[in-house]
């Protein structure tokens, strides 16, 4: 589809897109690091929320600040910050998640050219009344911090509008994910990967419009029958920055039908209550949503949720995409794997480094896995 090209261009060169966006609209841009960022508040402040993805190429500046045992995501984001390539952003917000992101915020604050820097120190527990209150307090503080940083007033009306917009976007993303499972031929994994990545970068109004078009076109497209031997996979982990994975899986006889990724379903999952006070509605979504393993909402909730996700989407197997040195995910892996095995759901572990293993090798691994399903 032609529309995909637009997304792909943004994802391939987000910085050019942002510079141009800034020039044309005069709007400010706020960088953020993870899906616990209340983008609605940034949008309501009239700024563009822009997810920092980092880089995996030519890293040398970040090596002066981070030891070898730091994950490539944190290292890559810091490299971009230090390189000056992000000079178009007006400031950054760091929601608190893991130990590495926590220190990334400190190192960024001390070393990257001063612009506004907001720490959003979220609760780690997401299952108690006091944590809920604290989360709402933190959202209120973030709103104030952002108002003073951007020199604007964020009205309740603007927040409501932002919530409505994000709700629409999230509903469309959800629809697109569902369509992908039904029509894998029309909507390739690689395309969806570009869309969701672009969704964290581009003008959200434009995103809404383009998404609507794509959903409409995909709905119209004839149902492409999945080959009966094609196996349905579900991805779980933190981020996926390798669109090649989808091609490799598809070539190996599989198809991704759903995911539990920070750059996937966790990003758009959960619709906000449009009638509730805006900040409470925003906070509530984080309490209800599937959690990042750096958060706590019970002892087995992630495993249970994953099993349920597998059932709901009738997946044949699960692929753990574990980023090297990502502690929260690595701690959860053994118990979730055990839980899946108890439910007779096969899974495979893919250790993700900065670079993927050579294409052929990975294809063979997926083929082997898919054969046993």
């Amino acid at each position: 589809m032609e529309k995909f090209t637009e997304f792909k261009n943004i994802v391939t060169d987000p910085y050019t897109y942002c510079r141009k966006y800034k020039e044309e609209t005069g709007n400010k841009i706020v960088g953020f690091t993870c899906s616990y960022t209340p983008e609605e508040i940034i949008y309501a402040a009239g700024a563009l929320p822009f997810r920092l993805f980092g880089t995996d190429e030519g890293i040398h500046r970040a090596d002066m600040h981070l030891q070898s045992y730091c994950c490539s995501l944190v290292r890559g984001i810091l490299e971009e910050g230090l390189s000056g390539r992000l000079d178009f952003i007006n400031g950054v917000v760091f929601p608190h998640t893991c130990d590495s992101i926590q220190r990334l915020s400190d190192i960024w604050r001390l070393n990257v050219t001063p612009k506004f820097h907001i720490d959003l120190v979220l609760p780690v527990k997401l299952n108690t009344t006091s944590a809920r209150q604290y989360l709402i307090d933190v959202m209120e503080k973030f709103k104030k911090d952002l108002e003073s940083a951007l020199g604007v007033k964020i009205t309740d009306a603007a927040l409501s509008d932002a919530i409505k917009l994000y709700n629409q976007i999230r509903k469309l993303m959800m629809k697109l994910y569902t369509l992908r499972a039904q029509k894998p031929e029309t909507l390739k994994g690689r395309d969806l990967h570009s869309i969701i990545k672009a969704a964290m970068i581009m003008d959200r109004q434009l995103l809404l419009k383009t998404l609507s078009d794509i959903v409409e076109q995909t709905q119209k497209a004839p149902a492409s029958k999945m080959k009966p031997e094609t196996k349905k996979l579900l991805l779980t982990g933190g981020i996926c920055s390798h669109p090649d994975i989808y091609d490799i899986i598809e070539n190996a006889g599989g198809v991704v039908v759903w995911d539990d990724l920070c750059t996937g379903s966790r990003y758009f999952e959960g619709i906000l209550d449009e009638k509730a006070p805006p900040l409470e509605a925003i906070a509530q979504r984080y309490l209800d949503r599937d959690i990042c393993p750096a958060k706590h909402a019970g002892l087995t909730d992630r495993g249970e949720s994953l099993v349920q996700m597998v059932r709901q989407h009738q997946a044949d197997g699960v692929v753990f995409m574990l980023l090297k040195f990502c502690d929260p995910h690595a701690f959860d892996y053994p118990y979730i794997k055990e839980m899946l095995e108890r439910e007779n759901i096969p899974c495979m572990l893919l250790d993700m480094e900065e670079q993927l293993p050579a294409g052929g090798q990975l294809q063979t691994r997926f083929e082997t896995f898919i054969q046993i399903l």
Partner: protein, 435 residues
């Protein structure tokens, strides 16, 4: 049945041994660390017999309410240190890796998770917990680790969530942590089946603060030149302020220790025989190489006189209100050394450099501890800029020996010490010229 009987006999044995130790200790002039720890672990391991509850708790966790309720606190991190010091870490870490835990995870966590399943390690495993108390003021790792153990032992877990203080302590953080202290008290009441003892916790709070003050006094003695104790001694004596904080044993032990150090100062006895160079240590000890490192530095007449690690257990006394322990503990537990921004940590490092008048700074880049280690390179730069002293970063792991390269680290320490010696020679010739 046979196994149950033998287990029970074992526990009775441990119990009697502990009682006997405690009895004989009364006749000793000064109790040794070994005696105290033996009694402590025998009491913990025979808790089933004495009908006491056992809580596993993180090293920076709020232990005082447990002590006030006669719950025996057990510290998996202290256990991790013992495993490391007895060089049993690598084997246990490998066991955890076979269970599916990545070799990049914290080695305390790996060793403890493995140990729980095989009852291995230097003391045959820790006594089973009735509850788990996890305070995330030291890291996010303890949360995941305690989740693993809560699933394994199927016991309730309380998480004290202390929001990170990048640039200060906010009002909403204060409210959140304070309300969790109440939740914590209810949690203990449920686990113990009786009302919380608010009177007793006041006394325990006093003892805790007094213990911290005494621990600070112990560490302060190293400001004397030559230092009567080194960081390696502090690593050893630390066990009590971690595990028995809030009990009278700590007071007695550290009171005697302060006196002993003062006596050493008076008699001119130093930790390193011929102390010429004074160094500051950062991060956890490399438990499996403490002796080796002491000898290595001592061979250069260098003494690690202080460290950022052991001082963390007396670093937040300023936030404790002696007359209102329960209210003030929220802030004291939230603003500990590892739960603050890198710049604030650097300030504390510089204050220690000045206080102990050190010639160099040794940073242990610890693969197991990301919140302690990430930011170290910046702290090093700040120290070099602000104080101009040589710094050495060595990469290792506190428990897992596999990442330790002895020959490489040895060479680097030699080179580092050469720089320090040169500089000292230079600066002393300048000061002589001035005179």
């Amino acid at each position: 049945m046979k196994k149950q009987i033998s287990d029970l006999l074992k526990i009775i044995g441990i119990f009697l041994f502990g009682k006997f130790k405690k009895f004989t200790m009364r006749f000793k002039k000064s109790k040794t660390m070994k005696d105290i720890m033996l009694v402590y672990y025998s009491e913990a391991k025979s808790a089933r017999l004495t009908r006491k509850k056992v809580a596993w708790i993180t090293s920076g966790g709020p232990v005082e309410p447990l002590i006030a309720m006669d719950v025996i606190p057990v510290y998996p991190e202290n256990h991790g240190a013992m495993i490391g010091a007895s060089k049993m870490g690598t084997g246990l870490c490998e066991t955890a890796e076979n269970m599916g835990y990545s070799s990049d995870l914290c080695s305390y966590a790996r060793a403890d998770i493995a140990c729980a399943t095989v009852n291995g390690g230097p003391i045959g495993g820790l006594p089973k917990p009735d509850m788990l108390v996890c305070c995330n003021n030291i890291c996010g790792t303890v949360l995941k680790w305690y989740e693993v153990q809560a699933r394994y032992f199927n016991v309730p877990l309380f998480v004290l969530d202390t929001p990170f203080c990048h640039t200060g302590y906010s009002e909403e953080t204060a409210r959140y942590v304070r309300s969790q202290i109440n939740e914590y008290i209810s949690f203990i009441e449920r686990a113990c089946g009786r009302k919380f003892d608010y009177e007793r916790v006041k006394k325990v709070g006093h003892l805790s603060l007094q213990g911290q003050q005494l621990w600070q006094k112990v560490l302060d003695t190293a400001a004397h030149k030559p230092a009567p104790l080194s960081a390696f001694d502090a690593f050893y004596h630390l066990a009590l302020i971690v595990t028995l904080r809030g009990t009278p044993e700590v007071i007695d032990y550290y009171t005697a220790l302060v006196a002993k150090m003062k006596d050493r100062i008076a008699r001119g006895i130093s930790a390193v025989p011929n102390e010429k160079y004074r160094l500051l240590w950062d991060n956890l000890p490399i438990w499996h190489r403490t002796r080796w490192l002491y000898d290595k530095f001592a061979s250069h007449d260098a003494c690690l006189v202080a460290d950022t690690y052991t001082s963390a257990w007396c670093g937040t006394m300023k936030y404790i209100d002696e007359n209102n322990f329960i209210d003030s503990m929220a802030e004291a537990y939230t603003r500990i050394y590892l739960n603050i921004g890198v710049d604030e940590m650097a300030k504390m490092v510089i204050a220690m450099i000045d206080k102990y008048d050190v010639d160099g700074f040794v940073l242990h880049s610890n693969r197991s501890c990301k919140p302690y280690s990430f930011g170290q390179m910046d702290i090093q730069r700040i120290v070099e800029k602000e104080r101009g002293i040589p710094c050495l970063m060595i990469e290792a792991d506190m428990v897992d020996e596999r990442t330790f390269s002895e020959s490489q680290i040895s060479t680097r320490i030699d080179a580092f010490m050469e720089i320090i010696k040169e500089r000292k020679k230079h600066s002393s010739s300048i000061s002589m010229a001035k005179e």
